[in-house]
């Protein structure tokens, strides 16, 4: 078998119809595989985003419900400590209203009379939206931009 025959065989192998068909099939399968991977990733990200969105919705509803419940309890507490109730409780415990000549005042150096008590506004609980990783709403370009900026700052 000389070199010419070998080249002939190789050439015949390369142009064999079944081999061309197999290449097409493999390329097609690769394309399908790539599409499936992208679809899987897309599905994964969107499902996580949907879950996070659902969590926000639930927490928003929960906050509303909690605020209503809190207001409800606050009102109940105010009823239980209303002026008339507290006065009756004091009387039941044997106390009586003080008279002005029974009050003793002590001079305390440096004491400053208290200002009216003011409500400290209640802080609104943060939604767990802050715990959602940036991957759920960050594009590839945002991610690259962030990396570039952070690496440049690192220098």
């Amino acid at each position: 078998m000389n070199i010419q025959n070998v080249n002939h065989l190789v050439q015949a192998y390369k142009v064999a119809p079944w081999r061309v068909q197999r290449q097409w099939i493999v390329n097609l399968l690769l394309a399908v595989l790539a599409t499936a991977m992208v679809a899987t990733l897309y599905l994964d990200v969107t499902s996580k985003a949907a879950l996070a969105g659902r969590e926000i919705q639930n927490l928003t509803a929960f906050i509303t419900e909690s605020q209503q419940r809190s207001g409800d309890l606050q009102t109940q507490l105010a009823s239980l400590t209303s002026a008339s109730v507290m006065e009756q409780r004091a009387l039941d415990l044997g106390f009586r209203p003080v008279k002005s000549d029974e009050v003793e005042y002590l001079i305390v150096p440096g004491y400053v009379a208290p200002e009216p008590d003011i409500l400290s506004s209640t802080s609104i609980p943060q939604l767990s939206a802050l715990s959602i990783p940036p991957e759920y709403n960050e594009s590839l370009f945002d991610w690259m931009d962030e990396k570039i900026v952070s690496s440049s700052r690192g220098r």
């Binding site: 079944w18 985003a49 419900e65 209503q68 009102t75 002005s100 000549d101 008590d117």
Partner: protein, 582 residues
């Protein structure tokens, strides 16, 4: 070899072809399924949902942080007609729990208005009753899964806030109330309705979780902190109620204000109502002006107004505290004789004596000496006939007749000087006299201490509305009034505290003539004189045990003044002076 590859290739193609066929088949199947219209409908309409959001109405606190008006949760209970399965079961359960007529519920479910898919059965249902009904629904749902017959599917619960007043009738006259439509009436609730209101808002809420960020945020109403002191308010109301019984008065009011800042610490008025039962309003009050006598009911104040006449006379320089005059018991003004309250002549008196003995003739003499233009100019500068600007709904301006008015007569110059023929509200006279207590400067009365919105607190500030008299005049008059109380041995005095003040007894006109048996008894005083922390006005309507303010309103003033110094931690003058010296 070639055949083997060809076979494999055909096999793969067959499998893929099958898969492709299956996908196409599924698409066609779904497109023609019986649920397709529903899915399409959901896709079009389900992205958003029309919801009614009930933001909480702002709360109202007193200056110490006690809740005066809050919100409680109640339920709107309705039936979703598209999903209801057992109307009879729903009617039976709701009827037994809420006491609503069974047949009416059933009729509402069976005969809804055209195009209606949701029927409200009951609203403002108590939280506990609503919770019990919800539990019953869950229990019946479980039972139905285990073979039970009937459930409450379709019964819907919507929680929303309702106004609640934990102190019931306390300070009702100044707080006002909110009806079920969420609108405030009277007092703070009406005046600050726009700030407080968390009105129900219909919004499109996205149900697509990917649009959760678009959920509409409806802010709650602004929280208000009042200048009112709850405990002092309760004490004032108690003392006022006792006074009405003791002196047989038909009504009354006690107002306490800080004369240096205008902060109203208390407004007690009769009658009061339980704000949680606002629908009783019509049975308690005949007129809207009866809701808060302190701001809505002008009346002739009588001798309390002598403070202003004397202030004007001193300020204009026609008299000094030591100026004397001969009281003959009567004076002719505008063709009519004016007499003293006892009809007697009091001889030579100085200006302190005029105040101490509350001499009408003296005051008429002063006003006529000042002449109408100057006298009414002072009265107008004191704010008579003008709104005080207090931040409460329903304030009346009163009436100060002046020369040129069709119903003004020359005799009015004399009678106005001692508080007859002029109509003022208690708050108006307090605002006017605050200039005497506050070194010549009048302050605007206010009930709002601060508001809290979006986690930020905004405090209100003192507003000086005018300086009708000089500081020297104000301080001089304060001394004169304090002295006159001490010389008189007034029932208004509180041991340990130097107070200034003046009684008032005004006859009430009936059918155009003054009835000497019907009076408005009042007392206006403040203290401590050298550093006033409170100004108290007491008004008793038609006391029957005595017509005189000195015998009815003055002792009431002493009671409430004593409570005030205790609750505001104001030490007696001797202790306070030691503090100042240190």
């Amino acid at each position: 070899m070639r055949q083997q590859y060809a076979l494999r290739t055909q096999l793969v193609m067959a499998v893929m072809g099958f898969v492709a066929f299956a996908i196409i088949f599924q698409i066609v199947r779904l497109q023609n399924s019986y649920v397709t219209p529903q899915i399409k409908a959901n896709e079009l309409n389900g992205r958003t949902e029309l919801q009614t959001i009930f933001p909480d109405r702002g709360e109202i606190y007193d200056r110490k942080g006690h809740l005066l008006a809050g919100n409680k949760t109640v339920f709107e209970i309705g039936v979703d007609l598209t999903s209801v399965k057992y109307p009879e079961t729903i009617a039976s359960a709701v009827s037994s729990e809420l006491g609503i007529d069974y047949s009416k519920i059933l009729s509402d479910i069976h005969n809804p208005a055209e195009g209606v898919s949701y029927v409200v059965i009951a609203d403002f249902v108590d939280l506990h009753k609503g919770e019990r009904l919800k539990e019953l629904k869950e229990k019946m749902k479980l039972d139905a899964k285990n073979g039970g017959i009937g459930d409450l599917t379709g019964l819907d619960f919507k929680a929303h806030p309702q106004r609640s007043y934990p102190e019931n009738s306390l300070a009702s006259n100044l707080i006002g109330f909110v009806n079920r439509e969420g609108r405030g009436y009277f007092g703070i609730e009406e005046k600050y309705n726009d700030l407080l209101a968390g009105n129900p808002v219909k919004v499109l809420v996205p149900i697509d979780p990917n649009k959760a960020a678009e959920i509409t945020h409806v802010p709650n109403g602004t929280t208000l902190i009042l200048t009112i002191n709850r405990d002092l308010q309760a004490a004032a109301e108690q003392i006022l109620d006792d006074a009405l019984k003791t002196y047989g008065a038909k009504g009354g009011t006690i107002v306490i204000m800080d004369p240096q800042t205008g902060e109203l610490l208390t407004i007690a008025s009769t009658p009061r109502m339980d704000l949680n039962q606002f629908w009783e309003y019509g049975t308690i009050y005949n007129n809207a002006s009866d809701f808060n006598l302190a701001i809505s009911t002008p009346y002739e104040p009588g001798s309390v107004l002598k403070i202003l006449t004397m202030a004007a006379a001193l300020d204009s320089g026609i008299v000094t505290p030591g100026t004397t005059y001969l009281d003959t018991g009567s004076i002719l003004v505008g063709g009519a004789w004016i007499h003293n309250w006892d009809g007697k002549a009091w001889g030579v008196q100085d200006m302190t004596g005029c105040l101490q003995h509350s001499l009408n003739v003296c005051m008429a003499t002063l006003s006529t000496q000042m002449e109408a233009t100057r006298f009414y100019s002072y009265m107008s500068n004191f704010g008579l006939g003008h709104l005080t600007g207090v931040d409460l709904s329903g304030e009346a301006a009163g009436r100060l007749k002046t020369p040129g008015d069709s119903d003004w007569y020359p005799v009015d110059l004399g009678t106005n000087a001692f508080g007859q023929g002029v109509a003022v509200t208690p708050l108006q006279i307090m605002t006017a006299v605050s200039s005497v207590a506050n070194h010549g400067r009048s302050v605007m009365p206010r009930t709002l201490y601060a508001m809290v919105r979006n986690e930020r607190q905004y405090n209100t500030t003192t507003q000086i509305v005018g300086s009708p008299i000089t500081e020297a005049t104000a301080d001089t008059l304060s001394e004169m009034l304090a002295n006159s109380l001490e010389f008189e041995g007034s029932a208004a005095l509180v041991p340990g505290y130097r107070l200034a003040g003046k009684t008032g007894t005004a006859e009430i006109p009936v059918n155009g003539f003054y009835d000497s048996t019907k009076t408005n008894a009042s007392f206006l005083g403040w203290g401590p004189v050298d550093d006033p922390k409170f100004m108290i006005y007491v008004w008793l309507k038609e006391p029957s045990s005595s017509i005189w303010g000195s015998e009815t309103a003055a002792p009431v003033f002493a009671q409430i003044a004593e409570k005030t110094v205790i609750l505001l931690d104001i030490p007696p003058d001797n202790i306070r002076n030691q503090l100042v010296q240190k």
